[in-house]
């Protein structure tokens, strides 16, 4: 069964901490994405990547960075966590044709 695996389901971090959210896919997909989901706001795109070492900003990249050193792994980094980054973070991947994303189960991050 093909999968996108996010390293943590729940995470609690303190304000100012550097936070790493890891995402691994086993489908040899070229494209990977990070979204955050908040009630009433839907999914908002943070960053995405078409290939190893490539990254593109989404709609809300401020306060985040990403890393894609290997094709199967796409990491989201919160440089200095703030309470307004408390959210559900969803990683997704797709093949080169972008037909149908496969999402991970999400990481619910709470920043206190």
């Amino acid at each position: 069964d093909v999968k996108v695996t996010q390293s943590s389901r729940y995470l609690v971090k303190r304000t100012g901490e550097k936070v790493f959210l890891e995402c691994v896919q086993d489908m040899d997909h070229e494209n990977m994405f990070w979204y955050r989901q908040d009630p009433g706001l839907g999914l908002r795109l943070i960053y995405f990547s078409y290939d190893v070492k490539m990254k593109e900003k989404g709609d809300i990249p401020e306060g985040y960075s990403v890393s894609r050193e290997k094709k199967e792994r796409f990491s989201l980094i919160l440089e200095s966590a703030s309470t307004n980054q408390t959210s559900m973070y969803l990683c997704a991947s797709s093949d080169r044709d972008f037909d149908g994303y496969t999402f991970g189960s999400g990481t619910r991050l709470t920043v206190v």
Partner: protein, 115 residues
Amino acid sequence: SQKIEQNSEALNIQEGKTATLTCNYTNYSPAYLQWYRQDPGRGPVFLLLIRENEKEKRKERLKVTFDTTLKQSLFHITASQPADSATYLCALDLRGDTGRRALTFGSGTRLQVQP
């Protein structure tokens, strides 16, 4: 401003009826549109994709229509079951508008099917 609207936050229907969910968009010309299902606390699951040159797509009890003139997609679940209760998201590929090949999502419609 550009917008994706899904008809209502919640839709309640009786088991066996057809559920119809709406996705409207303004100021976009999407290359294609996708529908996803999301259960509480889980990531979305891909259901169907329909391209701009297709009017209708079916998969088992699901049917999607895409009207680029009305800028609207309708998502139908026939013979609905309580197990169909979930949030349904529409998502647009806006490569023609933004040059960006990443989906933009609506905020979803929560469907509740009563037994």
